[in-house]
C-alpha cells in the first residue's frame, strides 16, 4: 500500500487522471470508510458494496468533491452515510460492476462474526435505527462529528454550510439521536427488565 504524505498533492494528481494517485487515496481511506459502512449496514457484503460505491462516486464526482483540510475523507464518509441509507437507489449506477467483483468464498456476515459480541451487535442495531430516523443532513453531521470526530468547522466545510448553521443543526441532531437511542433503550427494557427482588 502506498501511503500518502501529502493528500492535497495526491488529489491534484487524481484530478489529472493519475490512476496510481487515486489508488493511493483508496488505500489511505478504505478501512475507515469500510468501518463506517459496517456501522450503518447489516452485513459485511453491504458494507463492501457501500465502500465500493463511495470510491466509485469519489471518482465520478471528483471535480466537485469538497476537500476539507486537504483531505477527501469527510466527503467519503458523508457519501458512505448517504449510500447506506438507501442501498438500492444509491448503488444502482454500479450494480453490475460491484456484483462482478470477486469475494472470499467464506465471508462471514456481521451477525456471524458478532455472535460472541451480542452487546456490540445490539449497539450497532440501535445506531442504525436511530440514524435512519434522522434527515440526510443531520445524519451527515452525526457521522462526521460524533462518530468520526471532525470539528464542527470541518463538518461545515464538508457539507457546504456555515459554521453557525453546523453548530445549530448539530445541537438539534444530537437531541434527536439521543431521543431515538433512549426510545430504543426503553423498548429493550420492556422486554428484558425483571421484577425487582423483594
Amino acid at each position: 500500500m502506498r501511503s500518502i504524505e501529502d493528500e492535497a498533492t495526491a488529489w491534484v494528481a487524481v484530478l489529472g487522471n493519475d490512476g496510481d494517485a487515486f489508488v493511493a487515496v483508496f488505500d489511505q481511506h478504505r478501512d475507515r470508510v469500510y468501518r463506517h459502512a459496517l456501522r450503518l449496514t447489516t452485513n459485511v457484503h453491504d458494507a463492501e458494496d457501500v465502500t465500493a460505491g463511495a470510491f466509485l462516486e469519489l471518482w465520478r464526482r471528483r471535480k466537485s468533491v469538497r476537500v476539507v483540510d486537504d483531505s477527501v475523507l469527510p466527503w467519503l464518509l458523508v457519501t458512505t452515510t448517504n449510500l447506506s441509507r438507501n442501498l438500492t437507489r444509491g448503488l444502482r449506477r454500479y450494480r453490475v460492476l460491484i456484483a462482478a467483483l470477486p469475494r472470499a468464498e467464506v465471508a462471514k456476515s456481521a451477525e456471524d462474526v458478532a455472535l460472541g459480541r451480542i452487546e456490540d451487535l445490539r449497539t450497532a442495531e440501535r445506531v442504525r435505527s436511530a440514524m435512519s430516523g434522522l434527515s440526510s443532513s443531520d445524519a451527515a453531521l452525526i457521522t462526521l462529528i460524533m462518530f468520526e470526530h471532525f470539528s464542527p468547522a470541518q463538518a461545515a466545510i464538508a457539507l457546504g454550510i456555515s459554521n453557525g448553521a453546523a453548530r445549530t443543526r448539530l445541537h438539534r441532531a444530537r437531541n434527536r439521536m439521543t431521543e431515538a437511542l433512549a426510545s430504543l433503550e426503553d423498548g429493550d427494557s420492556a422486554h428484558t427488565t425483571k421484577e425487582p427482588i423483594r
Binding site: 489529472g16 469500510y34 459485511v44 465502500t51 471535480k63
Partner: protein, 272 residues
Amino acid sequence: MSTTEMDPVFTTALRDVLLATVKVAPRVRRRWRWRMGTGMLVGLTLAGGGVALASGVFSPPGAPVDSPLGNLITATRTGTATIDIGIPPTTATDLSLSLTCLTVGSFEFPNGSSMSCDAADLSHSIPIDRQASEVVPLTVGVDTVTIRTSANATWMLQVTYVNQVTTAWGVNANGETYGVTNQNGTPDLVAVVFNHGNTHGYVKESDLNCAAGGGVASPAEALAWDKVRQNRNISIPVFQSDGVTIIGAFVLGDATGSDAQTVPLSSLSLGC
C-alpha cells in the same frame, strides 16, 4: 478475516477496478481542450465546466459568449496561491481565467478542473500549448482566485471578469441537437475541430461516449477496454450539422509510437 477490514479478495478487485476506471477516463490533461489525435472538442468538454472560446474562430450553437468587463489582471506565482481580483462589476457573471504553466507540475482551477505540464509541453515554442482557459461562475462575496498546484510548480494567471450569455443549440432536420456541451447537457452532435484545427464539424455523442470508454460496465470489460486501447487510437466519423454527411474522422487517443495504430470505432466490438 477481521470485521474491521474488508475482504482482501474484494479489496484487491476493487483496487483494480478503480485503477482501470481512471485509465479508461478520457485522457484530459487539459480539460478545456480535449486534444485527441489530430482533433479537439470545441467548447465545453464532456466533463463539464467552462471554456473560453477563441472569439471569431468558430462559435458553434450552445457556446457561451463572454464579454470582458474591466481590466485584465496578470500574476505569476509558485505553488498554491491566492490572487486578489477586486470587486466584480455589477453585470459580471463569471471569471475568465487563463493559466500558463512555466514549470513542470499539476495545476487546479477553483472549479476543480486541472491541467498538468510535462517537459515536452514546456518545450513548445508557442505559449498556447502551455495554456489553459476556464470560465468559472462568480461566487457571491468571493473576490479572490486560488490556484492549487503540485510542489514548486510555477504558473502565470491572467484573469478578468466577464458577462456570459449561453446561446441555444441548433436542431437539424432529423431533430438532433448540435453544438457544444453546456450547463443544459450534451447535444446529440458534439462540435469538434480537426485536421490540425482547420476544419470543424460534429461527432455523435454516442460514438464519442463509446470511444471514450462509456460502455464499460464490469471489471472484465474495464480490463478488456484497457487492452483494446493500448497503443491504439480510435477514430469516429465527423459529420456536418445534418448528422448524415461525413466530412472526416476524429481521432481519440494519445498513442504515438512507431507501432501505434488508428482503428475505426466501427471495427471494434465495444458493446456500445
